[in-house]
Symmetry: D2
Subunit: 426 residues, 4 copies
């Protein structure tokens, strides 16, 4: 199995220069598709064909104007305009299928979107020093999804060059950062014949040379926004005429944190962003908060979703204001199957540059690969989330995040090796 | 007493085209001073000379960059650059003194600043239709202070042309909209020999032709901003590591409204603006609120100031966060003296165009003319706040506010007449 | 007009020895009626005949067992058993009518109930030293209603002995301490032909010899009890199974105090008594609070009543518990008519022992004579609440409260004098 | 090994008839000691000698008058007066030591106190029907500690009659129901040479014939009471003069539940009992709450203890009231050692009447045997908490709780068998 490390680096840097937010990965999708077209890929499902019915509402979908702007920017940066057109409606992402003889259907899920974080221009920051810093000012691949997309391509090349016998499907998933893309892709139908699914994440505070064979402990999560709408009034002249949106929101916040603990396992709640009101002498007409709930299981997360709903409604009633609550992200919990993790651990031991293999580690946070993992597991297959160590100078979601490109080759060899091993197992 | 109505209109429209926010009234002050220099004025105290020690911190003073920008804009619009220089440090405003024989010292206070409100460009809105709409986009004379400044000049002209015997001082006060300019001007020393002080406000829902001889019922007010600073943490992975600034702020808000009512009279409290946090999955490091308290008397307002301080501190302690509270505005309560109001009522009855004279009305809200009124009253003088009716299509502080320019003449004749009458009384 | 001071003292001490709580004034009513029967009274309406339809629910009515106990105690103390029977259902109190020629119908309202306060047995406390301390342990005439009832009888005697021409009605009202008796008596019909109504209160921190001709500033008031009923659960094993009645009540309390101030005048709210729960390790199934709201006007009180209702319901919803709210007292606001007060002031000046007459004073608190005053005023009559000074060693509602019996005579002469004067005015 | 089932039943019924609350187990301790004196026991540590320094304050110790009352009642019921005297200061309980050759020191901990629950007098309730219902009205052995004490005696008899070689120590622990006795007994020194410790609980929803070899999952717990002391004021006349103890307590309650979840494991908090205030029209001077916190580990419980402390203090500060917080119970978490559980499981399989053996079960709740278990484990020994099934008609802590006396014999045979087996293991 030959891996072209230079090609991996080059492609990753191209994507790094063009970071795009959730549902706006026009350049990224187009570049991936162009590369796939240059390969011996049997099926290629692009945009709407890679997601469930495109008429279903997408959570956290930006408005038309924003999407148009990113589409235009993608074309300006060299993306194929026809391809970008096919992604209309924020239907980004792709699924590539390689059929290579009899054997199991194995999936690999990688995500492709970036974050609204300005990238460091410090000389210590390699992308800045080496000339591949973000060209979309204010946005950045600060969580390594540029590397993930590159791993997807690299694994296809490596599998094509291997003794793998079976079908490989690579899922280039959009909108992970908003925990919004996993659901629609999991319901696209492309997962339904997958026997074994790998997902991969780079970094996670593990150094280059370390592999976590099976990551688990994903908390189920839902994000929501609530907007309280009251009646403004002059706070000095007629306080009784106001219906105070800020007071209602404050009540909701203090009470959401006081929802009872649950005996079945950990739960979480947070009101992370608030704004409201226009002037200190006006009783606020509007206030808005961005929140999330989590649970060790999907049931526990839904318990918190229900409870926060009742609290928010009651807080609005208490102050006679209206409230509208919108769920804008959702992901279930999941666990990695030990069988698949064991395959990774075995293969990783033999990969050059790997000096530490952990059987298991907990993520602590959430991510929506769990939708795809659940889909496969519910239909009798196995799923496993692999951690690929990389020396990263800054933390995830910070302006100095970067990856050690050496880990790209390690990742491709480990994942392609595990996929190949699965076909031999049968 | 001759009043040049056209000159009043022209000057008011000039100011209307150049609205400037609190402590940035560079063009406005310069234009007033230029006009005063063209008149037979005995003393002219400009900028720092019109306020208490300029080294005292000014509440709600914008930062240097903002002030510089407005100063430059003023010069670009034709203001005398040397004059603008003299207003450095946000020391705007002026005091004009006319000495015209023996007799009482009579003051007139007018305010001169505008609001951060975009002006309507509708054809129904006279300033837009007649070509004197705001040239400083996003800012607007939406409370008639352009008319107030014009009244100040017009009264000087009328008094110069009258039988008034005594000294007239006109106070062109900055930064009323932030309830910040009255204090420094009241402590400038220029009030200390004033026997009788008038202040004036146009509109207030009274129509053209109506005069309120003595406005009272000013609530004392203090504005403040509080910033809570906690410790961020990942809301899913380590909720216990966060010190939640948003939760602390919400606690403070719900509790501030619950401060006990006071038997001595009405009190008010409002948290009118909030913002905080960065993401729904991060426990918020920072949250900020803009609030105000009021009281029927200055003592009641200070009671609320003390109580809110304790609540804010305790809410911060409860969540182990820091809080910094800054008072950014303050005005005492005041009442109009009946003697001065009676003089206005008498004079107004004889002014052409006046068809309704009210002896008294309550303001309900707050304003910092009360600082100047208190200063005069504390030293044995009298003070009176006069309401000058005008047909105003939109409400105060809305984008369609405008004044009926006919009321400018009525205001000058009424106020100058009252001032003249005071010298005759002796 | 002859006043038998010794008889007044004797009767007052009899009542003082037999204090009875609201709606249980069996002995008190029986003794009053026995005295009235011994006089030349034209009509006597007792118990149910002195109140509106006895089938209407009485606020704060004690349960049957409690009433039976007090009825038995009254008979044991010497009350006429047949009379006590007529007061069945807690229908205590009486209305006496004296017809004495043509002239106005004048009313006098006195209240008759006592308080659940143990009386001092200190030697400094006159009732203890002089042998007329409460014989109903735990209960006490700690607000002077024993004196009020005595004044009612004394005024009848004095008026019978005077030149008064007209009709006198004396209202011996039950259940004032629970702010519950005024409503039913005001709707009995007996007030409907009253032209002028006096009510009287002794003490109020005014010394013997001082008369307040017209007391005003009564805050309207409503008391209520709210009981929250949730679902108990083991706080350690299954916190999520509980619906927490204590948490709901706490939420209601913090939020009730935060109801907006009202521009139309003072409002009040208080949660004065709470209890709930059974053990620290059980999520509370039940919690109960006793509260009150007030307002300068009846409308303002009703605003607070509505707002607290919404807050209480929303707090229950927030924690998924039930709540039942019961209004257990209510009195409107009222003001004394100046004409009637002037008559009192005139007469009082000539009464022996009176050395100070105040035209007006504010009560600050609440009382339900206002129901009767409102009834008369609504039908075109006048009403006036008179303050009768007395040296009282302890404060109202304390265990050492007592009255200076000298003030009984002063009160009778002043009130009877005013009533007589009213007939002369016509 | 012979077990006298009739003697077990007789002794258990004697204790059942004389239930005594925590720190008042005078009759119970005396009866146990009398029985021990009749046996061949090598050491007997009674009352103060069974606990740490008796001068240390005992949590939840009833006042002197209450203790005196129970002591007198014990003597009246036939307890040895001298023995009762030795238990002065609430120093109840005992430790019995049997030395029987070389070998390990094995401990058995049983608790002996009852609950303030009135016992059912229904015919279906065996103690009522069979004549051994509680003679201390209002108190009841509703959690089976009468059976526990009996097991302690029975095991001594059985071990004396066995081949056990080593030292047996039986700990008759007081005040478990208040989670208060375990600490002082664990620090008495008597645990310090124990190699293996068993504790036992009957019932726990397991039927007769079922044994849980190792119970775990004890949550660490602390109970506390907080009393808020403010300033009373008339809620209508002078709301601003009050410092509201009820409002402060409500604030503390709503905020305690909102303490952040902890990533390290489950936590709990509850305010289970509240009371405060005296009248709806008085701003409350005093309010009191009984609360508890728990955690999966002792560290997590202490985290909640610290956090609730800060919240309570801040809530008091917010309303300018004082607060005093007293910890009145405390127990750490603990886990059973598998080695000891395995011994129980082995032995139980051979005991007549045992038809189900569970290796492990979680308690969910808390209990203070954990203090003794921790003490032994910290010094290198093992500890194990054994569940002894019994058919119990009513739930624990209910008025119809009872045990199937057949399980007494099963318990003695299982525990004594396990103890004997431990000596053979060496």
């Amino acid at each position: 199995m030959h891996v072209d490390a230079d090609a991996l680096t080059e492609f990753r840097r191209d994507l790094h220069r063009h970071p795009e937010p959730a549902w706006c990965e026009f350049y990224t999708t187009a570049r991936i598709v162009e590369e796939l077209r240059a390969r011996d890929v049997d099926e290629l499902h692009v945009g709407p064909d890679a997601l469930e019915d495109a008429d279903e509402p997408r959570m956290s979908l930006p408005d038309q104007a924003t999407r148009d702007e990113w589409a235009e920017r993608a074309v300006d940066a060299g993306a194929d305009a026809d391809l970008v057109d096919r992604l209309d409606g924020g239907n980004t992402g792709a699924v590539a299928v390689v059929e290579q003889g009899d054997g199991p259907t194995v999936g690999l899920r990688v995500d492709i979107d970036a974050l609204p974080i300005p990238e460091s221009d410090d000389d210590d920051h390699t992308p800045a020093a080496a000339g591949f810093r973000s060209e979309n000012e204010g946005y950045m691949h600060a969580c390594g999804h540029d590397a993930h997309a590159t791993l997807g391509l690299g694994v296809i090349d490596a599998v094509l060059d291997s003794d793998f016998s079976g079908t490989l499907k690579v899922f280039f998933q959009p909108a992970e950062e908003r925990v919004a893309g996993g659901g629609p892709m999991s319901r696209s139908g492309h997962l339904d014949d997958v026997d074994s699914l790998y997902a991969v994440h780079i970094g996670l505070d593990h150094p280059t040379g370390e592999i976590v064979a099976g990551v688990g402990g994903f908390l189920a999560v839902s994000g929501f926004e609530a907007t309280f709408s009251g009646t403004p009034a002059h706070a000095g002249a007629h306080p009784e005429e106001g219906d105070n949106a800020i007071q209602a929101m404050a009540e909701a916040i203090t009470s959401m944190y006081a929802i009872p603990r649950h005996a079945d396992g950990p739960t979480r709640v947070n009101a992370g962003v608030v704004d409201g009101g226009t002037a200190s002498n006006i009783i606020a007409e509007e206030a808005r908060m961005e929140c999330e709930v989590r649970g060790q299981t999907t049931e526990l997360m839904e318990y918190m979703w229900e409870e926060t709903g009742r609290v928010v409604d009651a807080a609005a009633d208490m102050h006679d204001v209206d409230v509208e609550r919108t769920r804008n992200s959702r992901a279930p919990s999941a666990e990695s199957d030990e069988e698949l993790a064991a395959v990774v651990a075995d293969v990783a031991d033999g990969v050059e540059g790997v000096d530490s293999v952990m059987d298991h580690d907990d993520l602590g946070g959430s991510e929506d690969a769990t939708f795809l993992m659940n889909r496969v597991q519910e239909q009798g297959g196995n799923a496993c989330y692999v951690g690929l160590g990389t020396d990263h100078p800054g933390g995830h979601h910070t302006s100095t995040f970067d990856v050690d490109e050496e880990s790209l080759r390690i990742g491709v060899e480990t994942l392609a090796g595990a996929i190949e091993a699965l076909s031999n197992e049968e």
